[in-house]
Symmetry: C2
Subunit: 184 residues, 2 copies
């Protein structure tokens, strides 16, 4: 199962993330949880989230970048769901071996993420906490899927990104089935 955790703080105003997630919805085994729709009061159902993650082989974190990071509710989701004694610690590693794909959109252009740009650093410098969250839980950190300039790109370009993401997940499914088919 592919668990897509979508964290757009204003789902009804989403354009880029909506296009990206809509491109995945009808793929086999995809389950989407729109965090801000499901938990508008930030009262996360930890048991339900852990159960979904336990069933997942691939976990997708999808969100617009807010303040160089995940939106607040996704951070709260990390804090609550990736609990000591479940995700890590005391010999536990419930997420071990699962794949993790980070899908993020930014308002700024790629050029803005540079020593000479308004964000002063390459975008990858801001990814470390997110990547290490996955790695500390022994997940396989896949090559992230980043869409820059999400406020500015046209419909055709956005559709191309969405198609590319769909292909990425189709490729993941095919590789997974291929491995399973060749298992002894």
């Amino acid at each position: 199962m592919i668990y897509v955790v979508l964290a757009h703080p204003y789902p009804s105003q989403s354009r880029a993330n909506r296009a990206l997630v809509d491109a995945l919805r009808d793929l086999p085994e995809v389950e989407v949880c729109s965090l801000y729709d499901r938990y508008p009061d930030f009262d996360i159902d930890v048991v339900a989230e852990q159960a979904a993650l336990a069933r997942a082989e691939l976990v997708v974190w999808m969100h617009p970048v807010y303040w160089y990071s995940v939106p607040g509710l996704l951070k709260h989701w990390f804090d609550k769901v990736f609990a000591y004694g479940w995700a890590y610690g005391d010999g536990s590693a419930a997420l071990s071996g699962k794949d993790c794909l980070w899908v993020a959109s930014t308002g700024g252009t790629l050029e803005a993420y540079a020593a000479t740009g308004i964000h002063e650093r390459p975008f990858g410098d801001f990814a470390r906490p997110i990547e290490e969250t996955a790695r500390f839980c022994r997940m396989n950190w896949l090559e992230p899927f980043i869409v820059h300039g999400a406020h500015e790109i046209g419909e055709a370009e956005l559709a191309a990104h969405a198609a590319r993401l769909r292909e990425r997940l189709q490729g993941w499914l095919a590789a997974r089935d291929d491995r399973a088919g060749h298992s002894p």
Copy 2:
């Protein structure tokens, strides 16, 4: 005024952050907002927070590090309070010129934050999103105050850290008053 934004998800269980904040409470001009006490439902009073920040000359973010970052409610506070048209954008820069001090405690030791440690990177690598949030809002990013190994250090060492933080803020107040005294 010094606005201390304290973000401990479980204030009653806090030891390190409690010692740190208690060392500051009776300093002149210090106002403490314990986010998880004040906004247990994550329903942040944006107007009140912006008003407090507008009065502040020094803003302190104090918290235990959760998943290589700020706890979820402090991230949500960034998302809501540092709004477009107030903190940035459209010519606005309400936080411009204010000092910003990041005070963080970690469970891991300093040695754990290294290429060969369990966190795989130096601690500073994880600070970029937080630092750039302040810098993008044109705040002056002061040298952070980090207490590593907060779960393990003894009472005497913790008290020494708290005293050092108190001195740091006393020094800030003295320098501020000195500048004011020499103004034309």
